[in-house]
């Protein structure tokens, strides 16, 4: 067999954790090979080893059949291995060409930068692989999808033969995802090989040839994607059966809980992030906000929760205006918030889980009396959340939040927020980066919360999530509401078009 990359029996241990126990991954030349695993299964560690950022404790790596030691990313580069990271590493105010040649600049007479020649080469590469990138555009002027192509071009420019794509579809619209699929096909047609890291089974099914599934640091198996159903792959990944369809009853909306009335919010740079936005969320319904990242969703959420000031307009909760209230007052009047970035906003990573579980209620009885923390009560409350939300950690409530895996951090936050039973729960990307098992569980909890007669505002970049969980869907584009549709009457295509700013025809 012609393998480009072979990683055999890789083991990597970090203090207290075995990230990779015994993983074997073989990449054939000219295939798209998906690497599938739950969060914390060891995908990133394995790829970091291949890219030279970590050294394995045990195991061998072969490139083109020869055993190699990848001591640094530079060595990986020389071996023809390139990686597109989840978060792009581009200089905003440089052109595409300048970004691509950075670090391997072409020179004239030894010292003079030769951008022209590089630009030409990039144009050729772009044509060859159907990337359609303008080499002279500035990064800040092009879309996120284009930026991703620039990252791919960067690797091609450095003559990479093996491309690692880390969760490449998270930031893309459905249409852009299809285009990325075409690009990947072009790449393998030209003899490149691709490792696709993802936990979206649908994309694996659509794009990948083979798939290696890992669970808890061990290879479970490598399968031909064509012969496997999504459910079977999910079962391999999680180790049990998973249901994809979210089970929920028809919603029975009651009174208006959240009313946003012509809200305008400015972003940090003083440009308008959310313009004249109005929306209602009723008790007993989940309203999803769909949109490509950065189209005003975060600004809406921050304005509702009080993290950002509204420029104009009003926000009402149960008929009472909360526009000018402090964050704490909003929390007390019944706003729960599952924040977008769990590590930045959601948790104090150096606090224990117990301390994190009372982040919003520590000043209330029974968690404190006359300003003195009541560790016993805090502990009991935390233990309760830990057991009802299945938060797994090394030392239970005493574990530092930092030591938990992403999924467990997220479950802890969701537990904390739902346990306060807020009349309005604002859930932003509640399942970002989680595996199917946790996603299923979190969706169930959100629907339960709805069924208890609360309002849920769900903001997500995952269209599937929006379509499956929401009762109504509001689509935003460029800070404006494109339209609101019933989830039952729409599909991915329509929402995708609306996300791109195409309005539904009146009356439809």
């Amino acid at each position: 067999m012609d393998y480009v990359v072979e990683m055999l029996n890789i083991r990597k241990e970090f203090p207290g954790v075995v990230a990779n126990d015994d993983i074997t991954l073989r990449l054939k030349r000219g295939e798209i090979h998906a690497l599938l695993g739950e969060n914390g299964a060891g995908k990133s560690t394995l790829m970091s080893i291949l890219f030279g950022m970590y050294q394995p404790d045990r195991g061998t790596i072969k490139v083109n059949g020869k055993e190699v030691r990848i001591a640094s990313p530079n060595v990986a580069n020389d071996l023809g291995i390139g990686m597109v990271h989840q978060h792009f590493k581009l200089v905003e105010n440089f052109t595409v060409t300048e970004n691509i040649i950075m670090g391997s600049e072409t020179r004239k007479w030894g010292i003079v930068l030769d951008v022209k020649q590089a630009g030409k080469k990039i144009e050729e590469l772009s044509k060859q692989y159907g990337l359609n990138v303008d080499p002279y555009a500035k990064i800040e002027d092009i879309s996120v999808g284009m930026q991703q192509r620039v990252e791919i071009l960067k690797m091609l420019y450095r003559k990479a033969e093996v491309l690692i794509l880390d969760e490449p579809t998270g930031v893309l619209t459905p249409q852009e995802i299809q285009e990325l699929g075409k690009i990947m096909k072009n790449l393998i047609a030209e003899g490149k090989s691709i490792i696709l890291i993802t936990h979206k089974l649908k994309e694996i099914k659509e794009f990948a040839d083979r798939c290696t599934v890992i669970r808890r640091g061990k290879t479970i198996g490598t399968v031909e994607v064509a012969q496997m159903s999504e459910a079977a792959m999910a079962e391999m990944m999680v180790g049990r059966q998973v249901s994809f369809k979210v089970q929920k009853a028809e919603s029975r909306p009651k009174d208006i809980v959240l009313k946003v009335d012509s809200l305008t919010v400015k972003s940090g740079r003083k440009s308008i992030a959310l313009n004249d936005f109005s929306l209602e969320v009723r008790a007993g319904e989940i309203v999803g906000i769909a949109g490509v990242e950065g189209n005003g969703q975060s600004d809406l959420v921050e304005a509702i929760t009080g993290l950002r000031k509204a420029e104009s307009g009003h926000i009402y909760l149960n008929g009472k205006e909360i526009t000018g209230l402090t964050i704490r007052d909003r929390i007390e009047s019944g706003v729960g918030h599952i924040p977008e970035d769990r590590q930045r906003r959601g948790l104090v990573l150096d606090y224990s889980i117990a301390e994190n579980m009372v982040l919003e209620v520590y000043h209330k009885e029974p968690y404190s009396r006359r300003g003195i923390l009541q560790k016993q009560s805090i502990r009991q409350y935390a233990d309760h959340i830990i057991s009802s939300y299945d938060v797994r950690s090394g030392e239970g409530a005493e574990s530092k939040a930092r030591s938990l895996s992403g999924g467990n951090q997220q479950k802890a936050i969701i537990g904390r927020e739902i346990e306060r039973s807020p009349v309005l729960l604002v859930a932003v990307q509640p399942t970002r980066g989680l595996d199917v098992g946790s996603i299923e569980y979190i969706h169930k909890r959100l629907i339960e919360h709805r069924d208890k007669g609360n309002a849920v505002l769900l903001v997500s970049l995952e269209l599937d999530e929006i379509l499956n969980v929401s009762d109504r869907i509001a689509v935003v584009n460029n800070g404006e509401l494109v339209g609101v549709v019933r989830a039952a009457d729409t599909d991915e295509n329509e929402i995708g078009l609306m996300m791109a700013g195409v309005r539904r025809e009146a009356g439809a």
Binding site: E13, P15, D57, R58, T305, L307, T326, I327, R328, D329, R330, I331, H337, P339, R344, R345, G346, L347, V348, L349, D350, Y351, E355, L359, E360, Y362, H363, S368, G371, I372, L373
Partner: protein
């Protein structure tokens, strides 16, 4: 907690080791050098008392730095806060005619307020304009330095000396004859008792109260604290004020306990040593107490070593500097320890695997 202790002890051990190398390199006998250094600090009750007295202002300054640090702030202006606190307290002590039981508390309150005032300025600047507290608190050091320079000469100048303030009357000092007698005439004073009370109070506030919980949350993660409804800016101002108040009390202990007047033109070195004390004490109140006493020991033993041997006192300073270095780079020490442990574990594992192979 236990880890921190090991790291601090390693830092001390490395520092002493490096000091021994220095002594050897300069042609001295480290064994006798160290025995005189420690004897100088511990030999008899008087020397022990002096060690504790030397440590007293360091406990306050270390605690001030540690408190700010635990709440995410770097208060590098402790020197100025000590000086201003000491000055304000001296003004009160020299001008109020009260019995000692009232005068001392009045001086302590004045000192704490003076220190707090000097620290609250950088706190407000940070909260309001996001000015980095390191820059502004260093500037406050010099403002304090010159303000006290002027203030001493204008209001409380010693008639017989151009460069110092009037000595405080006995009723206005922390000196206590029973305590000095207990330590055979050492200059140990009530400042030490006060320091221990403050250590316990700070430990309580930081670990047990909702107020401490808020301040630490802001220190660890401002965004999460804001998300939880904690008013971040107010916490920053409070943190700085409390840190400054602790330093101000240290100023009272320094100028109305260890000394009985203020020399102008000197920014107290204890202010900057506080950073080292806090680092070595892992920013923990009890750790600060122990590390301040250790620094006190080095400082007070240094003179004796110098007198008894021809080892220059700079060696003692170098040891202190090296200890600070290791304490400051404690992460490095921690990594070294972890690396050693892991290597051993892996070696074992590999051996076991190979054994199976055969």
């Amino acid at each position: 907690m236990k880890n921190n202790l090991i790291i601090s002890l390693c830092a001390v051990a490395f520092g002493l080791l490096a000091g021994a190398v220095l002594m050897l390199a300069t042609g001295h006998n480290p064994a006798s050098g160290y025995s005189y250094l420690f004897e100088g600090g511990l030999k008899n009750p008087e020397r022990i008392g002096n060690t504790l007295a030397t440590a007293t202002p360091l406990i306050f300054s270390g605690l001030a730095v540690a408190f700010a640090f635990r709440t995410g702030l770097f208060n590098i202006g402790v020197a100025g806060q000590l000086l201003v606190g000491g000055f304000v307290a001296s003004v009160v002590g020299l001008n109020l005619d009260l019995p000692q039981v009232l005068l001392l508390p009045a001086m302590l309150i004045a000192g704490a307020l003076g220190g707090a005032l000097w620290a609250v300025v950088p706190g407000l600047l940070k909260a309001r304009f996001n000015v980095h507290e390191v820059v502004s608190s260093i500037m406050m050091n010099w403002i304090g330095f010159w303000a006290v320079y002027y203030g001493v000469q204008s209001f409380i100048k010693n008639p017989s000396s151009e460069t110092e303030s009037m000595p405080l009357p006995d009723a206005a000092t922390l000196k206590a004859s029973w305590l000095s007698d207990l330590f055979d005439g050492s200059f140990i004073n009530l400042g030490l008792m006060l320091a221990i009370v403050v250590v316990l109070a700070v430990a309580f506030v930081i670990n047990r109260t909702t107020f401490g919980y808020e301040l630490k949350a802001v220190g660890h993660n401002r965004d999460a604290a804001e998300y939880a409804g904690i008013t971040v800016n107010r916490s920053i101002v409070y943190s700085m004020a409390i840190s400054g108040a602790i330093a101000g009390l240290g100023g009272v202990a320094l100028y109305a306990g260890n000394a009985s007047n203020i020399q102008i033109g000197i920014l107290p070195s204890q202010g900057f040593d506080g950073i080292a004390v806090s680092l070595l004490g892992a920013n923990h109140p009890l750790g600060v107490l122990l590390s301040a006493i250790f620094f006190g020991l080095l400082y007070s033993g240094r003179g004796f070593m110098n007198a008894m041997t021809d080892i220059p006192p700079e060696i003692a300073d170098s040891i202190i500097a090296i200890i600070i270095y290791f304490a400051a780079t404690s992460i490095l020490v921690e990594r070294l320890i972890r690396w050693a442990i892991r290597r051993r574990a892996n070696a074992k594992l590999n051996a076991a695997q190979e054994g199976k192979g055969k």
